[in-house]
Symmetry: D2
Subunit: 388 residues, 4 copies
């Protein structure tokens, strides 16, 4: 269990980091929601704050005065059991509360939390736990903030830059090799006493057949070959639902790619740029990852294969699609009440992604971390690692 002191550090660092991400934004950028999966940045700021107000201050700080009655209604996201909320598709329709107001709300809650930390009160295990979850919850939203900002700016006809130095395409400077893992019984799941989500727990054995996995992520150059070979036109490479997705959305390249007179370019946080062939591919759906693997005559790893093999390769720049559906581990137990809605209720129709990405917050990933998204989504920094 984390100590009160370390938790205070974690809390402070986390709250600041969120605001640093938003620093380059114009006020207008905080407001819009161009697609349902993307939330307005001001909503992220408010929602991560509401979490501490709702689950910590209301319960553990008897002196705390609610900042405003509307917060719960406006900033609750998916906790159905906590009461009414703004429907998700309406988040981008709300001009109020203003950005300035949201920052005040943040400051107020951050200060109240600091007060709680600095008070003489001993923190119960339960209290330590819920604050720790709140910090990791906010770190998750930091990554979403970055990807949502990229969506907001990258789908604007002006294609404005976000900042000068965020590097999305770190080159992998080593040769492609195949790592072989022998068959046998392996252990899966979180084991140490450090923080993890409930969905990583229930460490258990699994049997793996012998497999090989690449030490290197698929590059833009490799994916361009697939495109030029007609990969998007060959129905036999795709799942039935993937094919429907490709045809009804007229998909013919990764997200953010633009075919220009100067060849393929992509939108980055610095604006439109020429594609770097050797950089790891990103912004592709599971359907595209699968079709690419089919075309190569290979496959995606399962999440267990990935977890066992990961010590032998570098990872962390892309969330890597696995073949595994997001399901509970044996003996998985949902937490009671509202916090139990955190992970378990999404365990259907989603695919597990492993690794982490250039947008992942510090200390917010680990070898056992199970990220998950619907198979058609691609605004995250997703990527492909092949197995066979």
């Amino acid at each position: 269990m984390i100590s009160k002191e370390h938790l205070f550090e974690l809390f402070t660092e986390t709250r600041v980091a969120t605001e640093i991400i938003c620093a380059p934004l114009e006020i207008e950028d905080y407001v819009v929601q161009p697609v349902v999966d993307v939330s307005p940045p001001k909503w992220h700021l408010g929602h991560t704050t509401w979490f501490f107000e709702e689950f910590v201050l209301k319960k553990y700080d008897s002196n705390y005065q609610l900042f405003d009655d509307h917060c719960a209604f406006v900033f609750n996201s998916y906790y159905e059991s906590v009461g009414e909320k703004v429907v998700r598709t309406d988040r981008g329709n709300l001009s109020r509360p203003t950005v300035a107001w949201v920052y005040e709300y943040r400051t107020c809650v951050t200060k109240a939390m600091q007060g709680l930390f600095l008070g003489s009160q001993n923190f119960s295990e339960e209290l330590l736990q819920v604050i720790e979850i709140g910090c990791h919850h906010e770190k998750q939203h930091q990554e979403l903030l970055l990807t949502d900002i990229k969506y907001i700016l990258g789908n604007n006809p002006l294609l404005p830059a976000y900042n000068d130095d965020f590097q999305e395409y770190p080159v992998q400077e080593f040769e492609q090799e195949w790592i072989t893992v022998p068959e046998g019984v392996y252990e899966i799941g979180h084991s140490s006493t450090s923080f993890c989500y409930d969905n990583e727990l229930g460490r258990h054995k699994t049997y793996l057949n012998k497999f090989e996995i690449s030490n290197k992520l698929v590059t833009n150059a490799e994916y361009l070959e697939f495109m030029e070979a007609g990969g998007y036109q060959d129905v036999l490479l795709w799942h039935a639902e993937g094919w429907d997705w490709v045809t009804s959305n007229k998909i013919n390249s990764p997200s953010y790619w633009h075919k220009t007179k100067k060849g393929w370019q992509y939108y980055t946080f610095q604006g439109l740029k020429k594609i770097t062939p050797e950089a790891p591919l990103t912004h592709i759906s599971y359907y595209e990852a699968f079709a690419f693997a089919q075309w190569k005559g290979m496959r995606l790893p399962s999440e267990f294969e990935w977890e066992i093999a990961q010590q032998q390769f570098e990872w962390g720049s892309r969330w890597e699609w696995t073949e595994s559906a997001y399901s509970p581990y044996p003996n998985y137990k949902k937490a009671d009440g509202a916090l139990g809605e955190y992970n378990g209720k999404f365990m259907v129709n989603q695919k597990v992604l492993r690794g982490g990405s250039v947008a992942t917050s510090t200390k917010h990933t680990r070898a056992t971390y199970r990220n998950f998204f619907h198979p058609n989504l691609r605004w995250q920094f997703t990527g492909i690692r092949l197995a066979k």
Copy 2:
């Protein structure tokens, strides 16, 4: 034809008035589009500016430098023949250009226009005409700005106020009476040489049967009677499409009305308020206007009846639904090219409204003015005047 001097006055007054309407807004309020018919205020600011740039400066000012290449794409609204444009439903997804940028754009174009006026150039009739249309076009958008702002704030869970003094519910301090108009041949349409839209022209004769029309608009109190008598539940009062609209949208009161513990209240520019029974009803659809008239055993006037009778009653606080569909007058001629898209292309599936409203810009209505909206819309200041 308007003189250059009067036009300069009109232009100056119009440009300033638009900005005064926006003065109470927060930056965030300029950005959102909570429903397709409502445009973000910054879009109105840009679009009315783009009109002068596209149709005046590009053509008549050889020194003019385009402010930015993206304007046409972002701020064109419906002129299909002028080129590609942002689809209407996407207007609220654009955080850029920023509000500050739009104001700069306005200033730049206003100054260039002033330069044109102050130059020694004589203005051709064509040039006078297109600028005059541009001013009236902007006045139309002033009314839309007000109704869109009301929608944006009035559908926000915080129900914020807009300003302190805008009065939406001016009381009619006189008794209800019936004005009788004898049957006969009457003349309809614009006749003077002052400004009007093309859809008012082609002054022509029409035959009216004897009819009676009320000197007073229907009040909130009268409409409440209809509601309490079960008007929203009696299918026989409604058009088939009206009934579908009522049931699928669960409509049971005018727009902006809230049933609270203290009884019926409505959202106004000053926030939530108790309903004034004697004030003229507003924010109802044509379907509701028709059903109310059915329930009273009366009907709505035709637009011709309204135009002939209007000298005998006060009007101007509500756009009054008429029974008339929006169609061309005999001998109506669409203007050539893009400006021809202004009115004619909407002449199907819309109903004519006559009068004007508390939100109508000064000098922007007249007895022959033909406003038009789809029968289900109610975010304008619409109202009911009965005939029989």
Copy 3:
């Protein structure tokens, strides 16, 4: 008022005619509903029968036993005030009752009606009226049966023929001329004592400006010119809603037209055939009629112009789109109760068509008849007559 004897003749002729229309069908053809506006033929058979059971036998024949409790639920169409009904889009989902059952139901009701006629009872005016409406109601459904059958077969990939002799394209063997009608006050509406619908009543004066109207319907050849001149690609010819309709449905020809290796062909009741250039165009929407007139520099007549001029030209092979929206005449009064739902409740968002068509039942049209459809529909035998 029609006499009991004439009404018996009308009733007998009408009931037989409906069944003759269905004689060439396979059982399967009676069941399907390929689009919401088209009803399964067995539904028409049942619905026209239900009308007599519900509005005549239940009320005027004390000995009548309901054929089956489900009839009202299955065969009520739009009389919201008469009780629950199968939603319109579900009609094609019902395999039961079977076609044989529906024919039994028809026979049973026809016989009971004959018993009523042959009984000694004097028919009240009210009874004569409701039966007469029932007959005209069934004649309306005879036309719908033909157009729905054409839709069902003409949208089947096998393009099967319906019968050998139904001629849809009668050639107009005379030269095109312009008929001039002088300006003045004219009378509009039904005047004789013979049958008409309530929407034709309230004969009243109208003022018409001088106009010219063609003695001839627009031909396939003329419309092909429009198509070849790019009419479907020129946005300036179309209403805004028409343009949306063209682009979102990828419309580029009248309904039932196929571009084949042998040139343009159309589906007819005898299967696919070469287009007859001189035959009158049909199966076009109001939007297309309007765009064609725009392209010609002319316009569509109003329904009043049509009614006044019609004695001077031949009509009856096409329902002719007019510029008039479907609205109540002055002094129009809806009938009380369920029969009042017949016409009045559709008086919004529809366009009036005048004339009649090759599919119109005998004695089912007249110079004052007001047909009406939404502007996008084209499965009826619609056509164009130009005015200027």
Copy 4:
């Protein structure tokens, strides 16, 4: 590999069985498609026939004349790589080809197949294989025929019976007990040389933790307890997508259940009947299965647990939802070409069901059989077996 003689028997028995299922139908019942997942019975008859024509006769019988050019277009289902096809939602819009025609088509193809069998030709392994797949394919459609017929009749307002003797609710006459399976490495997948689908192959090891599984399926009585305890109203029992499904479809009971004055009844092949409390529950979605298990504090088994434990309990009356997503086994290889579309392309967003049902064709299931459906579907005879 199956012998030619046994295959002939299998083929003959299969073709006859399909037609026996359809014998009680009215012609009208063959035509309709009340919901997209349900196909018209005549489509099943044609599609299973087309399979033999397309994949056997066209390739292996040089004398075979295509029955009709339209078959491929009308009766191809999902083989995207074989050419154009009627879109799935349109199947119920086609009155032609008629039922009589489809039976002729069946007879013609069955005879040609019999000719092939009775000829002197030796059958290659490939030929034996494709015919065997064709038979099993038709057996799958036999089950779909039964469930589609139930849907067509059971959603008709007349609730007609199908036949007198099909028993959907066989009672489990034994006590509920928990079977314990020890942890360890187990083998999964098909091993014998008899027929199986490609998705069962790649027999491989898996590691199972110790678990318990019920010998008995959940009964109607147990599910009624869940309903009466408010299971459908408690958001915490449901997946997020399950909750959306419940609320937007207003689900409050299994499919085919009706709350009547006499209490809960359900539609069966013999019409509406009182619920048998002790019979195994059916027609529930995966979402409902999961929520029920949550409410019990238990869970659904994984497909591997089911396969290992199944020798110790009776199964075969319900397709049992498992917690496992439908994914490829290690070393799964899609067949080449069109037949490769059979199973692999559905391996996303579906859940595995194990067992078999009262509607499953003889010889069409086995312990390794992997059925799969989207988690919201319930027109199959699905059921629940609990694990913990």
